[in-house]
């Protein structure tokens, strides 16, 4: 499935810097992170403009995340909300990265760096400098890789990004999801159940 020009081995040179275990730990945290701290996604907290409010990404890391967000969610010409208008990366930063233990966050940051740099093997440029088509090919190649660390890392980064996007209420209307209903439907709140008599 891997295009010929993308046949690189992510577990050789670059993995030597990070290590397989680091990838797995990143994956273990990120793939299961779901919505850590997403209580902070209340609309009032979610409207600051990127990059304001970004405190756990360096400018370089932010550039990688931003490029990835654009690759994963190319909404131009679609009915979906443009992620540029939403605090997607602020959500990744504040709801996910902010809650990670320091060693795990360090591993994730290493993964982001690797993700960016490993694109140089097939394309001669880091991920942030790829064209849209190249970025898509690169992501698909990682997802299709036979190497566990490569696909685990990409899965984790993708999971965090798209989960952050869909956690933001304005993304729902275009896909027909109405969000909370109990109050809108005027539903009665039930009392506690009666004490059993036997």
């Amino acid at each position: 499935m891997t295009p010929h020009h993308l046949e690189f081995n992510p577990t050789t040179d670059h993995v030597a810097r990070l290590g397989r275990r680091d990838f797995l730990r990143v994956s273990a945290v990120a793939a299961g992170l779901a919505a850590t701290g997403l209580a902070s996604l209340a609309p009032s907290a979610a409207w600051a403009q990127v990059p304001e409010g970004i405190s756990h990404m360096t400018p370089e890391e932010y550039a990688v995340w931003h490029r990835l967000m654009r690759a994963l969610l190319p909404t131009e010409g679609s009915t979906l909300v443009d992620p540029e208008t939403l605090p997607v990366l602020q959500t990744v930063d504040g709801a996910f990265l902010a809650t990670l233990p320091a060693p795990v966050l360090a591993n994730l940051k290493g993964g982001v760096a690797y993700f960016n740099e490993a694109a140089s093997d097939p394309f001669g440029r880091p991920f942030i400098e790829l064209t849209n088509e190249e970025a898509t090919q690169y992501c698909d190649a990682l997802a299709s890789s036979d190497e566990v660390p490569a696909r685990a890392l990409f899965s984790a980064l993708k999971f965090l990004t798209v989960t952050a996007y869909w956690a933001i209420p304005p993304t729902w209307e275009p896909i027909g999801f109405q969000g909370p209903v109990a109050e809108a439907w005027g539903l009665e709140v039930y009392e506690n159940a009666a004490l059993p008599q036997t």
Binding site: R25, A35, A39, L80, S144, S155, A156, P174, L187
Partner: protein, 521 residues
Amino acid sequence: MTEHVQVQAQGLNVVEAVNVTQTQMDFTADAVVIGSGAGGAIAAYELAKSGKSVIVLEAGRYVPAERMTEMTAVSLGTMYADHGGQANSQGDITILQGACVGGSTVVNAALCFRTPDHYLRLWAEEFGLTNISTEVLTPYFETVERNIWITQNEAWESSPGAELIKQGMEAAGNPIGHAKRNVKDCALTGFCFAGCKTNRKQSMLVTYLPWAQAYGAEIYADTRVNEILSENGQATGVTAEVINPDTGEKVADMTVTAPIVVLAAGPIQSPILLMKSGLANSSGQVGKNFACHPSLSLTAEFDEEVNDTVGATHSVYMDEFVLPDENGVGGFILLNAIEQPVLAGASQNPGTGRPYVNLMERFANTIRLITLLHDKNSGEVTYENGMKSINYTVDDEDFESMKEGLKVNARILLAAGASKVYIPTTLSRVIESEADVDPVIDALQNERSRYPYTSFHPQGTLRMGADPATTVVNPMGETHDVRNLYVLDASILPTSIGYNPSETVYALASYISDQINAAHP
């Protein structure tokens, strides 16, 4: 005993970290219950009703109906273990458990099954559990079914997707199972996983916990037990800490001195607490025999909008192949489920970029059907250097069962009229016709970090049985090694049962509570 009991109309009287002003709290009670989910809540009620003073310690928050949001993303952050991020060490199985007052009963989909007779017989034969036969447990099933309103869905308790899946099951020749749920007058909001904001789900929050309080039980939230104490082989109480969940800062230390300790912290935390306490592991089985029913959800796309976003979270299932085959290899069940986009949108992978956007634009045209694997008890929970690990992967045999389940699943969805069925894998895999089913699914390999599994059913880590050399908990629910230390959660299941284990836990908790009361009149 309290003579005139009164159930509070709504909510509970829970001591939360924000209410605590002392830095040291020391209590004495007849029983301390660790955890407030299915097992802990039932034990609290049954013991308090018998006249015992009971203190319930819950590590998670108290989230009553008025604080629920009907936003899964928010609920994951406030009501689930590790903020919804609990996973196996490989990172490809998300293991979702409630971590709040009421435990997983607050955030599950309320689907209930009695323990299959097959397993009660097997447990008698292989684990010496002749005391929990079908005949013995049937009255307990009947009681909990009555108490928490476990009833079969009415015809109107369905969803648009479930109606299509019913058609698919009929067309494919598979039997239709109609869900039984502990929901009273379901409003069909579809928000079970975020907690029922109208208290219609008859979780422990609105049943056994207020009933326990009516008999005098006290409940402390935000309170994590650090150690179970014992002297001369007998439980004597616990030490705990009250932690502010918003800041992570310790508010107070706590001790509870009690001659009865009920451990009901769930199949991940219960073995960890025994490990931290250095107790009950003469068998070497503490933390072992972990199973979790890993599941994969197929997404079906239809030409027309389905709008499967409201309705009963679960309406139908298919359990034709749930029991192990003649070679002992486990089967699977299929369950329909309503999922919010924050869950459904993360697992779909038709390809990077436009294919993903195109699919999500048609979210209203999609439904999901879960394949839940009846796995073997091959994993282990460990605790080292202050870190827990859930060491578990789907083995090759179980993966073959998963593939068989995916095939049946895909055929049902196609028979329902789906134009495309998406396989959740890091690769883009789409089935567009019956002819695709076998070749596409047969080509799947059991590879790590390839499939986004989800599990709601951890179990087995403190298995129950008659032999103290091979099991942790005796047939009465008491640990073999420590007298008066009882375990009352899905940890004690000797084997994976293939179905949602909640009703099994409800019944066993009721049974074991009776054993506790009999031993401690």
